[in-house]
Symmetry: C2
Subunit: 234 residues, 2 copies
Amino acid sequence: MNESAPHICEMCNTRKLSAFSELGKEELSDLSEHKACVFFKKGQIIMHEGSRPTGVYCIHHGKAKFYKLGQEGKEQIIRFAKDGDLLGYRSILSGEAVSVSIAALEDTHACFLPKAMLFEVIENNPKFSLNIMKMACHELGEAGKLITNLAQKSVTERLAEMLLILKETFGEDADGNIDISLTREELASMVGTATESVIRLLSKFKEDELISIKGRKIKVENPVKLARVGNVFD
Amino acid sequence: MNESAPHICEMCNTRKLSAFSELGKEELSDLSEHKACVFFKKGQIIMHEGSRPTGVYCIHHGKAKFYKLGQEGKEQIIRFAKDGDLLGYRSILSGEAVSVSIAALEDTHACFLPKAMLFEVIENNPKFSLNIMKMACHELGEAGKLITNLAQKSVTERLAEMLLILKETFGEDADGNIDISLTREELASMVGTATESVIRLLSKFKEDELISIKGRKIKVENPVKLARVGNVFD
DNA sequence: CGATTAATTGATACTTCTCAAATCCTGTGG
DNA sequence: CCACAGGATTTGAGAAGTATCAATTAATCG
């Protein structure tokens, strides 16, 4: 983690995507003064499961994964974060240790906000509080969906749906590929299956012309059929 | 849902277990005035997945399950609620439709608090806000655990762990049985497996003297061994 | 450009699901 | 309070779906 080129909250375009979207002028300058700009290299761990964070990170530009270590240290990816997302607030607000590790999936610029500062904003700005609650409650809904999928869907269905979720979350690059580079092992860890199963299923999806593959670049060719394979209805 | 014998928030013992534990005298009398006491019979549905609740329920005495309908209407139990728990706040705060259905597992007395009243307390009492955030964030952590278990553990392990969680959550009756009556199908729906698998595994656990069974009454006889079977470490 | 990690493919084993049939139990109405 | 109907539970057999292990090839990073 290094110092990074300083950002000024007042002028931050990413802010509009974040929970800080509705802060006043004074609050913003206060924020700018108390935060620090940091940089994480691809692969670098931002938070360690079980640790006690001293504040939260707001992603300015980058991508990260939240994961837990399960059986025999096997990685389980719970969710992702991108521009504007807040890292570590769950632990700070629940008063518990961090329940996940967070690692950068790409070179990531973020701002660090100390715990005390976060609580200050919460106590002085009910709108911000509501934003945080909204965020947490939305994530709870997403977690419920994931739980149901893991419990009831087949590996094939889960992988198909996951590809669509990744496309939705990270968008596409210039060539139409899902704009995130994940190893087959990481894909497996999201879906809750073995790496080999992911490989076999991706080959099958490709054969069926649902997707195309160039190394780690995956392009959804037929979202409608893929959704059908994944039994995705919403 | 019927009217129920009225409760007065100021004198409610259950309140101390709830998010309302730190309200002031005035706030409590205000609460008492605006809430309604309701009664749900065992099996009755308290909230329907997809609906828009007009307020939240606080369980005064009873038990409920949160579940989603997954593949082909199959029920997936996400979590449980008991005395002092708040129902429906996730939907109200995220501004989304209810993501789960909630049904009473026993005859349940609860208090209904209209949406506007909830927001009023949130805006006027930062401590209450923090309590709610704490709740939501804690649940997020629990959801993460469940996700990891579903993705990585075997059915056997999940069932063993689930029995321990149920014992922890609902405690024991006079005979030492887990104090909740669930059908085999409901157990299956928590663990994410087929009803027949639950039955076979329960028989095996009984054979191995980890538990004893009298109909729907299950008693954990050897929690240590059961935890070992479930690969439970915490 | 070599060393290490990632991806692929094949063969095999096992867990878990599904379907079917029989018995048991629970909640209900008389 | 008892009998009954319908749902819940149990057991068995067979079929899928996935995991695991091993060996090879490809790709990535310093």
